[in-house]
Amino acid sequence: MNRISTVFEKASGPILNVYATAGFPKLGDTMLVLEALQEGGVDIIEIGMPYSDPVADGETIQQSNQISLDQGMTVALLFEQLKDLRKKVQVPVLLMGYINPVLQFGVERFCQKCQEVGVDGLILPDLPMAEYEAEYREVFEKYGLYNIFLITPQTKDKRIHQIDAVSKGFIYMVSSASTTGAKSGISSEQALYFDRINQMNLKNPRLIGFGISDRESFLKASSSASGAIIGSAFVKLLAKSSDLKKDIIAFVREIKGTN
């Protein structure tokens, strides 16, 4: 069984999913960051595969992508860095990135590598559902990968049901119409949207992302979903930390309320 499903089945509290850009702040930091996240008690890890033109991302993640690329990060190097992943990290791992580097690596070869190192799923925001179903689903499933889809406040009910039908693991609920890191906090309007989705009886659980930055917004989001995703706030921490391991563990414990 895919580790992602297990996490949702066994969870006793809200699920915390943290995004970290691979090869950031230093090229060789990827595994250190993952291990520290696990030690802090994170439930799911999203590793960002850097891309030159990340249109769904705000400034913080864009910059981390560019720094990582400038330091020499590539898809091939990332898989190399992750080769002992499953000796050290047991939490589910998703790769998040854009479709072009995956296409150039070769879709099947990419999926095979994911399975080899123990990646559980993918988030590719510019791979839309129709393309996924027509061209990618079969290969992703062959290698046991869950593809995570996004929904937004503008997504129509009919489409949400379609997305729910092809989704496995969870649905990524974008909290507001925005790129990553644009706004923070959760408004009453957003709470209404969260409730509306909650009442749709979807088969997949939801995690809420975009604009979640601290314990307060994490708890608020988690009250209307299975948990939440933190990206930009964590990348900001990575950018300024002088003791990665200590700061990461403290960050996760603070959010989860286990410190």
């Binding site: 769904a56 937004t152 503008q154 119409a177």
Partner: protein, 393 residues
Amino acid sequence: MTYQVDEKGYYGEFGGAFIPEMLYPNVEELRTHYLEIMNEPSFQQEFHDLLRDFVGRPTPLFAAKRLSEKYQTQIFLKREDLCHTGAHKVNNTIGQILVAKRLGKNKIVAETGAGQHGVATATVCALMGLECIVYMGAIDIERQAPNVARMRMLGAKVVAAQSGSKTLKDATNEAMRHWINNPVDTHYIIGSVVGPHPYPDMVARFQSVISEEIKTQLMEKEGRNYPDYVLACVGGGSNAAGAFYHFLDEPRTQLIAAEAAGQGVGTGHSAATTFLGKSGVLHGSRSLLMQTEDGQVIEPYSISAGLDYPGIGPMHAHLFKTGRAHFYDITDEEALDSALELSQLEGIIPALESAHALAVLPKLQAKPQEIVVINLSGRGDKDLATYQQRLKL
């Protein structure tokens, strides 16, 4: 073989709509409505009235006698440089703003490279009283200063794109991000035949007025409704798409595209996508794309800001792949020479972009009785600083 888009939004293997879910409602709304809107008689009426009375269409098809003599063939210039605002870009912005209004949008966002599309967008926004934000690469803001001033004078807000290479590609990223953040009241007016379906097809249809007029004008002047060659420069490919459109299925017409080779295809400072690109996804469609082995987009280079783009529209990738269009790589130097030549032989100062199309002439070897139509996509006013410097004027 068809050169038109299919119902899934593809030209052969190129095209599609690779967009994040945040953009899906907007793009889907456009996809399901654009043809219906464009076919409404009231839309057609308004579009053509504005093209005539505001843009100044039809633009002339000018028999360039001295140029023809020099190259020993019959050369006609399609004078898009005479369009209001100075380039073909306005054909598309007029069309799109009318679509935006019918979709109930009251704000417009656009990207721009040379500033021509930005000016054309700011112009139609002023005309229609809609709010306008234009993203422009920080480097382009410097090298196309007159157009920045024009946009501001027209009431648009010009925002510098500071990410990546700080040119057209990054301005496009920023415009897309702006649209993601403002999905309800904003329409994104893309400036070329790029982006997710239905943009390439919609923009090509708006620009197709160019070849529609060429057909009629050639019939009047030469008694035949097709040329032997149509030449156009390709940045994203909108002026070329418009100039080719009604000849796509005319086997007697050879379609010739000029790409910016910058300092030369092999120098690492180039924007010649069909020579240097591979199939990939950027800005919502699958097309030919200049990229590293790892799939990172390569920052292009051209002296011409309007051609300084790492991709081409999916329609052109298909025309290239099928061999329907022939692509030439034109260096900065060749374009500059041709700009000077046209200025002094015909009294027309072309845009640097259009000069790339002119620079195909010495390589074409057209026969004396053959008809060559060159799409003169824009005028050179915006490029005077570059001409002054590079031609030592």
